[in-house]
Amino acid sequence: MLTLYRPGTGWLHRMPAGPKLLLILSVVLVVSLLPAHWSTAAIAALVAIVGYTVSGLGPGLRGIRELGHQMFSLRWIMVITLVSQLIFMGPEPAVANTARVTAAIVLAALLSLTTRVTALLDAIERGLRPLERLGLDAARCALLLTVTISTIPVLGRRAAEVRDAQRARGARNNPQTFVIPFLIVALKHADELGDALTARGVR
């Protein structure tokens, strides 16, 4: 299934998921807490550029190009933040806050770019294990996440079938006429999935 992961062999790719999560989150947190000064804009931009160049995303300018991709996908968030703050608060907070928010988001994206979903799933299961004393079942949580991941493409196909069926009958494409049949198909799938899980020993 489609993920945000980009294959690679840099040091950030090879770093274990748990420590990597903590490292990236602490950098993001520091950037998020910068005050609304002009200097913040420069620091935020610098940290983001350095972050993407030193994390070993690929040879040459590969990291910078990736940063460009990430920022392009954030263009609307950047525009809306910038414009609303220009209107209400003036240029200095507008530029500083926009740079800070953008840098935090692109730096956090380094986690998904360099870590496989399976590695993060394992990290979550390990991270939840201490909570088992509170009655939380870490293995069941991991199972729940895995089952959901495998269910999404199945329901995606079912949704396409429902849409095709409606198009064939000339129905208009609006939420009510699609969602009700799709929900029924999906919840029937849930019944089958529950039976299948029970048959495999999940209680």
Binding site: I24, I105, L111, S112, T148, I149, A159, I180, L183, T198
Partner: protein, 208 residues
């Protein structure tokens, strides 16, 4: 181990059985699929995302606890890097962006919707469904979303509220749509709710 048969409506809050697990997984997937491209256009050709419609349905159909859990599952998958939010957004970065609070509000919103729609385990009726979906779907989500957005972007809370009120008309349409869907589903496919209701109160009244 002789388990007493639990009441069908009372999901055991501590333990998630296979059936509950499947329903939670499927609903998280439903909300993800509702955010996929190829979505809908309203009258006038305005493209809309129906992902928040899915949030409203999760609470109303699964009930408070499983509904909230399905939203937590969806957000966990987003956090570990699946692009499941409308527009293909995903990754832990979204929790540092302006919409972080609204996403967390989904969990609380689904919980509140479930609590009101299924209050005291009674069969949902139209007014309670509409009320629950409205309260959990708009005030609750905004109550978490707006302060967090204000905190993240540094824009004062009043102005942030003003900006996000641009989404109110769309959200109100979604409340109406979700209410219509839930009441239709109650008649067309009551199994969707996986609950057993006592005989309708009106019949009881007739006998009095």
């Amino acid at each position: 181990m002789a388990h007493p048969e639990p009441l069908p409506n009372r999901q055991d809050r501590r333990r998630l059985d296979a059936k509950g697990l499947a329903r939670v997984a499927v609903f998280a997937a439903i909300v993800a699929v509702l955010g996929l491209p190829g979505g809908f256009t309203l009258a006038g050709g305005v493209p809309i995302t129906v992902q928040t419609l899915g949030v409203m349905l999760a609470g109303a159909i699964l009930g408070p606890w499983l509904g909230a859990l399905s939203m937590m599952v969806l957000l966990a998958l987003v956090a570990i890097g699946l692009p499941l939010l409308a527009g293909g957004r995903g990754g832990i970065g979204v929790f540092f962006g302006p919409s972080a609070g609204y996403l967390i509000g989904w969990v609380l919103g689904a919980l509140v919707i479930g609590l009101i729609v299924h209050a005291a385990g009674r069969k949902p009726v139209v007014w309670r469904t509409a009320l629950g979906i409205f309260v959990g779907g708009i005030p609750v989500i905004y109550a978490v979303g707006v302060p967090v957005q204000s905190m993240i972007t540094g824009l004062p809370i009043g102005q942030t509220l003003l900006m996000s009120s641009a989404f109110l008309p769309g959200d109100l349409i979604k409340v109406v749509t979700a209410t219509f869907i839930v009441t239709t589903l109650l008649r067309a496919y009551p199994r969707a709710f996986a609950r057993v209701w006592a005989a309708t109160p009106s019949r009881g009244l007739e006998r009095v």
